[in-house]
Structures are given as C-alpha cells and as structure tokens.
C-alpha cells in the first residue's frame, strides 16, 4: 500500500480515491519548471518532450533541457544515471532553462538523489516519487527508498508517493514501457493541459506502429490523468495565449539540420561525435529528399578534407563536429583558408579540453575557432544565441562562405543542441540557397587569385570551367596559383586573405543593446547565454538598476560600434561559459589573470577594461546566478 506522507493534506491514495479536486483549487502560475527523471530507457525523455510540445501547443512559452547520463546504459537505480527532461513552462516567451526545478517526477529515488545533490531542485519543491520501491523484495532497496523518502520529507520537500507501477500494471503487463505516459497524463492534469493534445503526441510517436501500441499508450495517459484527478489535492494552470502564427518546436541540432537543408548546401561530411551527432542523424534521414548527401567519413580529418574537396569542385559544403573533432580538423581548415575554398564548419561545443565532458555544456572553443590552425588563418566565427538562430545562422554562414570564399565556423553548444524552444515557422526564401555551380568559360587572362585591392575578394575557378585550369595549393602562392617562395608574394597573399575579414566587417550592423544605451554596467555575452543574461538584466532593471546587455553574434570579425557602446557604460563585464581565473585566488593578480574568451578579445581590441565572470559547471548558466553576479558587480 502506498503511503502518501506529504506536507499538504493528502487524499487517500490509489484506488480508494475520493472526490476530485474542486476547480477552484487551481493555482494560477506565471511559470513552473518541471522535471521527469528515470533510469535510462524508461522513457522519461519522451514524456518530457511530449509535455513540452503539449504546453507549446497550448500557447505556453517553453524551454526544454535534456538530462542525459554520459553512458548509454548506466546501471539501474544509480545516482549518476538520471535520464530525463526538464521543462520550463511559462505564460510568456521563455528564453532559457531558468533556475531550480519546482516539481519533479522521479521513477526511483536514486536518480532523484543525483538531482538533489546537484542542487537542481528548488528547496521545498514538489517531488512525486514512484512508490513501488517501498515494498520491494530486496530489503536493501526498500530501505534505501524509505531512508531517502524520509530525509527528503525532513528536508522540507513536499513529497508525494505515486503508485505508478501498480496503476500501470492494471492496464499493461510491463509497466516499464508505459509508466512515462501515465506520468504524462498525470502532468497534463496537474498543469490543466488539454489531454487531447497528449493523445496527438502519442499518435505522432507511435502512429507508424501497431494500432494496439497507440491504444495502450492512450489508456495509460488517461489513467494517469484520472488518477491525478482523483488523488491529488493541488492543480496548476499557467495561462497562455495561443500563438496566432505557426511555430515549430525543435532542438538546436534539428534546427541546424533544417538550416543546412534550407541553405542549399548539398554535402555534409561528418564523423560521429557527441553532442553534434544528432544533427547528422536527422540530416541523414531527410537530406536526400532535397538532393543532399551525408557522408560519414572514416575520421574527423577525412570528414573535413572530404568537405573541402567537395566545396572546391562544387557548392559550399558543411562538416559538423564537436570539440575534439574540431581540433582534428585544424589542418584541413587551414587548407581551405589558404586555398580560399568556402566551407561551413559547425562545432557543437562540449566540455573540454581533451575528451572533457562530452554531453555537457561549455563555451570553451571560441579561441580555437578564431585562432585555430597554424599561421595566419583568418576565419569567420559566428555563434547562434537561440534555437531559431541555429536555423538561420547556417543559411547566413553558407552565404558568407561563398561570397568571401572563406571558412565560416558556427559555434553552438551542448545546451542549444538538446534544448527545445518554439519559434516562428520559417518561410522558405529562394535567396537562401546556393546559386548553381558556375561552369562558364573563364575570361581570357583572368587569374585564379585576382585579389581585389580594396576587399581582397577574388572569383574562384571551379573545375569544369574551361580556361580556368590551375592547381590549387596549400603552399604559398601568387595570383596564378603558382607556388611562390618569394617575399612579396607571401606578403601579398596573406594581406588579401586578411582583408576579406575587414570587408565583411564593413557589412555588419552594430549589435543591439538590451536595455538603456547607457548606464552603470554593460553585460556582454555570446552564444546560448543570451536568454539567461537578458532575463537577469530585465529583472534587475525592473528594480531600477542601470544595467544593460549586449549579445555578440559575430565573434570574428567583431561588428562595428562595439567600442562606442561600451564607452557609454561605467563598467563592462562579460558572462561566459568558459574558464577565467578568479581574482580572489592568492596567486592571481592583474599581471597573470586569464580572462574569459570574449573578455580577452574585447580588452585586446578596444583597450577597454572589460571584466568577466564565468563558470564551467557543465550546465547552462542560470539567470539567478547571473543576477547575483551582476548585483555584486554593481556594488563594487
């Protein structure tokens, strides 16, 4: 028998349910963060994703974050094995994963412990635990459950024990396969979400399978809803205004893959690496529908060399990777820079150095992206800040690569890769796609590197063009693409390759300032931290603090106007997900402190005293953390 020991007055549990909660007991919330966690393979991720989609359909703002263990099958009931999803649901637009969790559904107490220890749960939050372990045949497991339960109650959490297993078993023989839908039904009730949308989700997920699979899952969903209605004494509603325009709900990697499709690139060469691979998985599924090919190369170097070869002979191509793979590609990237071959390189950043934290969030590769590859190898570096940006950045990257015959690096991260956020459905525009490959004869006397004196731009000759025959080389070369060892040729070629960055910079707009154009503090960020930074800035501004923020989409070249923006503030600091030395450490002072990446760049370029704050905890930086950091900086 399940024990409903809770702080709030519990109703009788299970089948002995009494009357449902009255409609007036519904609490209206502005937003809530919900987590569903289980052992790997128990379907908590599916449950979470579905909940996110349902909420999005209701018109709520959402941001979902995957909780992924590093191993495919970590041992069952292990603290490090938590797998699931975290959904921030709000009345309005949600730009980031938010702070601590308000409500968590856990399929066992061990995965829950992992989240408690990681301080991911809000003190006193609602915990809904699978209660089957209390009466488990193994006395150790039962004892562990009871101990954890009692401690959580003692610590002030509002713990509800849910007989999920028992309830599911009345409908299906293997509850492991259906508990997630029971949980989804329960959550639909709790958040007053339209259950029919849940049924749609099941249709979407299992529609291709046997009808009986769909029916069984729908029964479980309804059972969860019914059980919650009969047994729980609280209910929430997060009011939402339904969107008037179609929106799409995808994660950053899917958005990237869709962007690649939309950009008109035809070849993607890759090698499997976490957390980039899911973009390639999806692209492998769909790219052929638009005449594209995903080539899984034998290694990261080959993937990049393949992409370089294909770009050289045709349209711009893309290679997708993460940190270690990005390191391996450096020489081939340098070749593309030297030969002036357009190329898009996507680096879905993860924790580094070395193998680091493959599934975790970090912004550690910016310096490598800008300065990587030996010698002077100017590349364009962009960083999408939102899921929507992941889609459009690739299209822009392709265009820049082909206009300037340059390598464009797109830096996303593990956070964006796996988070979902709705954004307006893109309307395809023909100008997004690459023009057909130029096969027209090359005019008499034209040279393969006819660098323009002002911009460094040169038209590239593509195999198949009569009269354009030349040998592209990674060696220093002159305008004829002849190997040149003389001093002047090398000086000239490096000059023009560098000039292209400046030419691009002239076309960029100054970044927008979030908040007043002047004030006490300007917070600078880049990449996926945008939503969290702006949320923190907004909340402090609401309290009258004179803080604004600026987010950089282009990191190389830096757009114009940055210095002027910074000069209108008393202080400037960056907030980044990479390492910076802590000034309070004994050996750290101004002569040896290592600043975060963008702080270093801004200090070097603009001679402005830019401070920084950063952390590398493998998770997105929370708005509350940023709020605290900014408040402290404002006090200094």
């Amino acid at each position: 028998m399940n024990q409903m020991t809770t702080q709030k007055s519990p109703k009788q549990a299970g089948t002995q349910a009494s009357a449902p909660a009255s409609p007036d007991s519904v609490t209206i919330l502005k937003e809530h963060i919900v987590e569903i966690i289980s052992d790997s393979g128990e379907g908590a991720q599916k449950c979470g994703q579905s909940l996110g989609s349902i909420a999005a359909q209701m018109g709520n703002g959402i941001w979902t974050v995957e909780i992924i263990p590093a191993e495919i099958r970590p041992p069952a009931r292990s603290v490090a094995g938590a797998s699931g999803n975290r959904i921030r649901i709000g009345s309005g637009y949600i730009t980031n994963g938010g702070n601590e969790t308000d409500l968590v559904v856990a399929f066992n107490e061990q995965v829950l412990l992992g989240r408690v220890r990681a301080k991911e749960l809000k003190p006193g939050c609602i915990i809904m635990m699978e209660s089957m372990w209390r009466t488990h045949a193994d006395p150790k497991i039962a004892a562990s459950y009871i101990e954890t339960h009692d401690r959580l109650v003692e610590a002030g959490y509002k713990v509800y024990e849910i007989p999920m297993e028992q309830e599911c078993r009345t409908l299906v023989s293997d509850a492991k396969r259906g508990k997630n839908m029971f949980a989804l039904g329960m959550l639909c009730y709790l958040y007053s979400l339209d259950l029919r949308l849940g049924v749609d989700q099941i249709e979407l997920a299992f529609g291709k399978k046997d009808r009986s699979v769909v029916d069984a899952n729908v029964r479980l969903l309804e059972a969860g809803h019914k059980w919650a209605q009969a047994n729980l004494d609280f209910r929430y509603r997060i009011p939402a205004v339904r969107a008037t325009e179609p929106q799409i709900v995808v994660n950053g990697n899917t958005a990237l893959a869709l962007g690649i499709m939309a950009s008109g690139m035809e070849i993607c060469a890759m090698y499997p690496i976490t957390p980039a691979t899911s973009a390639s998985h999806y692209l492998s599924e769909v790219f052929e529908n638009v005449g594209g090919i995903v080539h899984q190369a034998e290694d990261e170097i080959a993937a990049c060399a393949f992409a370089v070869g294909a770009s050289y002979a045709s349209k711009c191509t893309v290679t997708i990777t993460s940190g270690p793979g990005y390191s391996l590609k450096q020489e081939a990237i340098g070749l593309a820079v030297m030969g002036e071959i357009p190329l898009v390189v996507v680096n879905v950043q993860r924790g580094g150095p070395s193998t680091g934290q493959p599934t975790k969030y970090e912004q550690g590769d910016l310096m490598t992206a800008i300065f990587g590859s030996h010698g002077d190898a100017p590349k364009v570096v962009m960083a999408p800040a939102t899921i929507e940006d992941c889609f459009y950045s690739v299209i822009t990257a392709r265009k820049i690569a082909e206009t300037f015959n340059m390598v464009v690096v797109v830096l996303t991260d593990a956070g964006l890769a796996t988070s979902q956020q709705p954004f307006p459905r893109p309307m395809f525009n023909e100008s997004w796609i690459a023009p057909p490959v130029d096969q027209s004869p090359v005019p008499e006397g034209a040279k393969p590197y006819d660098w323009d004196a002002d911009t460094g731009l040169a038209r590239r000759f593509i195999p198949g063009q009569p009269g354009g025959m030349h040998t592209l080389t990674g060696l220093a070369h002159d305008r004829d693409s002849h190997v040149a060892y003389d001093a002047e040729s090398n000086q000239e070629a490096i000059h023009f390759r560098s000039l292209k960055l400046a030419a691009l910079q002239k076309t960029l707009k100054a970044p927008a300032v979030f908040g007043d154009p002047k004030g006490d503090l300007l917070v600078v960020g880049w990449g996926s931290t945008k939503g969290a930074i702006e949320e923190a800035v907004e909340s402090l501004r609401a309290e009258g603090r004179k803080v604004s923020s600026m987010h950089l989409q282009f990191l190389q070249p830096l757009p114009p106007g940055i210095k002027e923006i910074m000069q209108r503030f008393k202080k400037v600091m960056t907030i980044e997900g990479n390492w910076s030395d802590r000034p309070e450490d004994k050996v750290i002072d101004e002569t040896n402190r290592r600043y975060s990446a963008v702080a270093t760049l801004l200090r070097a370029r603009y001679l402005v005293d830019v401070d920084c704050w950063s952390e590398v905890k493998g998770q997105a930086i929370k708005p509350a953390t940023i709020r605290r950091v900014i408040s402290e900086k404002l006090k200094q």
Binding site: R242, A243, L258, A297, G468, M469
Partner: protein
C-alpha cells in the same frame, strides 16, 4: 533531334582533339632520373589518347615529391595537405561525378600519414584512379625511412639501418573488402607503365596502381638488382589483363599467366618476395561505386528544397487553433 552541320562536326572534332602540350604545364622540378618523370609522361599520354577534357579533369595530391604532380598538368589540380589526398578526391568525386579524378600520392603520404584514408578509399570504391608513387623513402624532407623502405635502409632517422620489415602496399590493398582494381608497375618499363595506367583509368571504381620507382637522390642503387636483371621482374599476362609486345617479351622472359579475377592468386603473387610482379593483380568490374550508391539522382532545385523543407517543418509545427482560442 538536332542535326549538326558538317562544319560544326569538324569544329567539335577539332575541339575534342588534344595534343600532349594540352596537358603539359611548366618544367617538372624533379631530379633527373626520378621515377615521377616517367609517371608524368605516361599520364599525359593517357589524357591525350583518351581525349580527357582538361577542364573536366582533376589531379589531387597530398604532400611530398610525387604530390607536385598536379602542378605539371594543364588540368585542374589540388595540391593539398599531407596524407589527405584521398578524402579530398572523394569529396571532389562525390560533388562532381562528371569529373575525371586522379590521385597522386607517395609512400609516406599514402602508407604512413594517410594510411587510414587509404584503407577506406578502397572500401568506398569511388571511380578514382590512384597512383602510389612508391620510391621507398621520404624525398622532400630529405631521406627518412618510409613504411615501404626495405629493412636495413640507412636513412637520417635510421642511421644504423631501419629495423622493421617493409609494409607491402599490394597485400594491404588486396586485403580490403570492396577492393576492385590493383596493379603494379615499375618506372623503368614505360610501355607497361602506360598500359597499366590506361587499364586503371578505364576501370570504373577505385583503381590502385603501385608504381615502384627510383629515387636517384636518396636511394640511388637500391633498385639496381631489378633493373639489371630482367628475370627479377615478373610480367603478369592474361587475356583479361595485359598482353605484352614481342619486343618486350624478348627482354622480359619471366612472364606468368594470371587471371586478374582470381583474388587468392593475386594475394599470393603480391606476397612473393623474389621477383616483382608487374601487371594487373586484381580486377573486379562489378563492385559498386560509393558515389553511385549515394546519389539519389534528385537535382537540387529551389522547388525541391522548398517542398522538402516544408515537409519537415510540418512535422514540428504547432498550428494556431483560432476557433479554440476564441472559446478559451
């Protein structure tokens, strides 16, 4: 159907007729007596005889003496980075199956730094002709032992003689699943070298030609025993492979009838240590090419992209439900 006028026909024939000069670019800077010169001559002749359009032909190379090859061809060329000629060439071929793609790579480039790509290129079996310029030594970096240097080779990195047995490029290639064409040539028999280059080009799939060549600068005498004794060269003839002229057969009497479809025999011949087998060791015209397997035949157009993208977006779209919104 378009009818061509006689003049147009003549003009086109004239346009499609090429001379050796149409493929020659610059004066090769290889050493006198370097085997690379012989390979260049054979390849230029191939281009002329086969009428390869210079603008439709790409020579891809890595780094090393041999990899200067594309600079001496008046075609498109790609002189890339060390060891990566094969993946670059694969990218070219995948993007542009209409181009004739050749790879020039050396024993360091292919069998050492690029060895991983070598194995996989054989497995992909793309329609590319690969020449392994094997002089058994690093030339451009000035005499270091390569994987194919015979054991005991004295070099700057092995001053007391190399300690490892040489890697055999033929047995390696013949051990890879999907291998479709393996031949061996020597630089000092230009007639056979040309025949092999031609057969390699005509094979649809990855043709791997190992060319045993001299390095007059760093290993001047190492191949002398084979040069001086024709018996130490074993010509492989077969009606399905190469057939040799009477003149040649008078000098090279050591001939062996080998059916190139027999991979087991090919492996035995490749492993033999006495005479150098010269000719086609293995040929299987039926192995599918990776580019053919992967190309969908769909031509990328704006309409196709729009349709494909919208079909995907449909899967993730949350449509506004105006009627229900009103009720709410």
């Amino acid at each position: 159907m378009n009818m061509m006028s006689a003049t147009e026909c003549l003009l086109q024939m004239c346009d499609e007729h090429f001379e050796m000069e149409d493929y020659q670019s610059g004066v090769p800077r290889w050493c006198t007596g370097c085997g690379d010169n012989a390979i260049l001559a054979a390849v230029q002749r191939l281009c002329r005889d086969e009428g390869l359009r210079p603008e439709k032909t790409v020579f891809v190379s890595g780094i090393g003496c041999s990899s200067r090859f594309p600079h001496y061809m008046k075609t498109y060329g790609f002189h890339g980075i060390h060891g990566r000629a094969l993946p670059v060439a694969e990218g070219v071929k995948m993007a542009r199956p209409d181009l004739n793609v050749f790879v020039n790579t050396g024993d360091g480039d292919c069998c050492s730094i690029g060895a991983a790509h070598w194995i996989h290129a054989l497995r992909y079996n793309m329609n590319i002709t690969v020449f392994l310029h094997d002089n058994q030594i690093y030339g451009l970096t000035k005499k270091q032992a390569s994987p194919t240097s015979p054991i005991g080779t004295k070099s700057n990195t092995t001053p007391r003689g190399s300690t490892l047995e040489a890697l055999n490029p033929l047995t390696v290639t013949l051990g890879v699943q999907n291998v479709s064409f393996v031949a061996q040539a020597v630089d000092w028999i230009p007639e056979v070298l040309f025949d092999i280059v031609k057969a390699a080009y005509r094979h649809k799939g990855l043709s791997f030609v190992r060319i045993v060549q001299r390095c007059p600068e760093w290993l001047p005498q190492s191949l002398d025993p084979w040069l001086h004794d024709p018996q130490k060269v074993q010509l492989l003839n077969h009606e399905k492979g190469l057939q040799f002229s009477t003149g040649l057969s008078k000098v090279y009497k050591n001939q062996f009838e080998h059916d190139p479809s027999n991979i087991h025999r090919a492996r035995e011949l490749a492993s033999s240590s006495d005479a150098i087998p010269v000719g086609i060791l293995y040929h299987n015209p039926d192995v599918p090419c990776y580019e053919d397997l992967r190309h969908t035949g769909l031509l990328q157009t704006a309409d196709l992209t729009r349709a494909g993208l919208n079909a995907e977006l449909d899967k993730y779209t949350v449509w506004p439900r105006k009627a229900e919104a009103k009720v709410a």
